[in-house]
């Protein structure tokens, strides 16, 4: 009997408290949203399952918890804490992305820059709320709406916040179709939403080939700290455009990115152990993250309206909302909101330009914050 009681006292049922139950519910919610609602299932399902894994209370010292140095999960988590996984994901994104629309209409790139205002305004907000500068920067980057970038910067500046920031970033990315449309409708008139974009020009293969080389050199010479992310993003894109490296591009956009996404999602989820995750700071991060996302969306929209004051050929200001780099979700939302007003208005292709420039912008923003605050 004594052995039985001893065994029971070491089971998850005996070790769990109400916080574990809350986290298990959050994990289950993520899995539900991913599978039943199709909200970013490739991210939410591994993260949700990781949350379940991380919140099974385990006996300390057995090397089971993600925070114990000799555990399997800890080794897999190494790729997150050292910022290895995010650049690999960027390589896969590069190998999937077609920059033609951006090359056809480079002016739309400014919308991607404008949306990054959200990062820096939230950084100020987090400082004002009493967060340390490195934590404030990691919170601000949630506004970039780019999970890998948020994880990369947090891994460099505030390792203790990786769990809440990653979960917040991916949650808001998954909720793009819920968060963005009301802001888009609030900040644009019906007349503006009805604007049709002119057909982009044909982009030659040579332009697409040269672009990743020029882009990586220019961006990384201006902001060298963006090198790990942008370097791999543009290398992936060069592999795609070169055609002769199709096998490598295929590997980058399928097996590499899929493997890394599983490992990243699962370990980030497992890092949200109740005692680490359910703190006042996490609530602050979620509130500021949502604010950051809204400010980023609004900044893009307002900047598009300002651009229209100077442009002969007006652009549809909804494209500004795609400046946040949730690729391709925010571009899809632009298409959806545009088509709600006029079913013959196709904005998706045009929205991809600010969307991919948002990826570049948020990586540059992360690099800048890292270089400001490192050490």
């Amino acid at each position: 009997m004594e052995m039985f009681i001893d065994f029971f006292s070491n089971t998850g049922f005996a070790l769990a408290d109400y916080r574990n139950v809350i986290m298990l519910c959050i994990g289950a919610l993520f899995i539900y949203l991913g599978i039943a609602r199709h909200y970013e299932p490739l991210l939410l399902v591994p993260i949700g399952f990781g949350i379940l894994l991380g919140n099974i209370p385990v006996f300390k010292g057995l090397g089971l918890s993600i925070y114990e140095p000799n555990s399997v999960l800890h080794y897999l988590y190494f790729g997150v804490t050292q910022g290895i996984y995010p650049p690999l994901i960027f390589m896969g994104i590069g190998a999937m992305t077609d920059f033609s629309t951006l090359l056809a209409r480079p002016v739309l790139m400014l919308l991607g820059a404008a949306a990054q205002t959200g990062i820096f305004l939230t950084f100020l907000g987090a400082l004002a709320l009493g967060f340390a500068p490195n934590e404030a920067a990691s919170i601000g980057i949630i506004g970039g709406a780019d999970g890998p970038t948020a994880i990369f910067l947090t891994a460099k500046l505030a390792k203790n916040l990786i769990g809440p920031i990653a979960v917040a970033a991916y949650s808001y990315m998954a909720l793009v179709p819920v968060i963005q449309p009301p802001i888009m409708r609030l900040l644009t008139t019906r007349k503006e939403r009805l604007i049709k974009m002119e057909e982009p020009r044909q982009v030659s293969k040579r332009e697409r080939l040269i672009f990743p080389i020029i882009a990586v050199l220019l961006c990384c010479y201006i902001a060298p700290a963006a090198l790990p992310l942008l370097g791999l993003l543009f290398m992936g894109n060069l592999l795609k455009e070169a055609v002769v490296t199709e096998r490598l591009a295929q590997a980058a956009r399928t097996s590499v990115i899929d493997t890394v996404t599983i490992l990243l999602g699962m370990t980030v989820g497992a890092s949200t152990q109740a005692d680490v995750f359910l703190t006042g700071k996490s609530i602050g991060i979620f509130v500021l993250g949502a604010l950051s996302f809204c400010v980023a969306t609004a900044s893009g929209l307002i900047f598009a309206k300002i651009m229209n004051l100077f442009l002969k050929q007006k652009i549809n200001p909804l494209l500004g909302a795609a400046g946040v780099s949730a690729v391709p979700d925010s571009a899809r939302v632009v298409q959806m909101v545009g088509q709600a007003e006029d079913p013959t208005n196709f904005l998706l292709m045009h929205a991809m330009a600010p969307n991919v420039s948002g990826v570049i912008g948020s990586a540059v923003g992360a690099g800048i914050l890292w270089s400001f605050l490192v050490g």
Binding site: L102, A113, I119, F120
Partner: protein, 154 residues
């Protein structure tokens, strides 16, 4: 420390202002460069003409030897026309064998497998020359009229 004091203490306003400025600078510079890229490529393709113009302008280097004179440029254009005719003939036969409508990747793949030189640029020229036209459903068609008129021009 919280509020404005905390922002000022950590030089938050400075960092935010410099940060957003750098992001804008990077993307503005990149957009300016890529907006000129296709023009630079056109100049590069026609570089002999520009070199000759520059030579004449400075009157330092007389165009001879390595530099291609205007006549040669005309010859290269003629060669291009011959090439496009030859290419269109090859692709006409190829498209007949694969049937219409066809997809461009499939056409290029078959052309590559048959050892046709530079299939990407050739297909690009054929599209620019209106010999390959989209069917508006994601596939492409061979423009027989344009091909016949090109053949007659020989």
């Amino acid at each position: 420390m919280t509020g404005i004091d905390a922002i000022l203490y950590h030089n938050g306003f400075g960092m935010a202002a410099v940060g957003i400025t750098i992001v804008f600078t990077a993307l503005v510079v990149l957009s300016l460069v890529i907006s000129q890229l296709h023009k630079l490529l056109i100049i590069w393709d026609d570089r002999e003409t520009y070199i000759n113009k520059a030579c004449r302008f400075f009157s330092v280097l007389k165009p001879k030897g390595g530099l291609v004179p205007k006549k040669a440029k005309k010859e290269s254009k003629a060669a291009y026309v011959i090439n496009i005719k030859e290419s269109s003939r090859q692709f006409s036969i190829l498209i007949q064998s694969i049937g219409e409508p066809f997809s461009l990747p499939e056409l290029i793949r078959i052309a590559e497998s048959l050892g046709i030189e530079r299939p990407y640029s050739t297909v690009s020229h054929l599209i620019a020359g209106n010999l390959i036209i989209p069917d508006q459903k994601g596939f492409f068609l061979w423009n027989h009229e344009a091909y016949n008129s090109l053949s007659r021009r020989s």
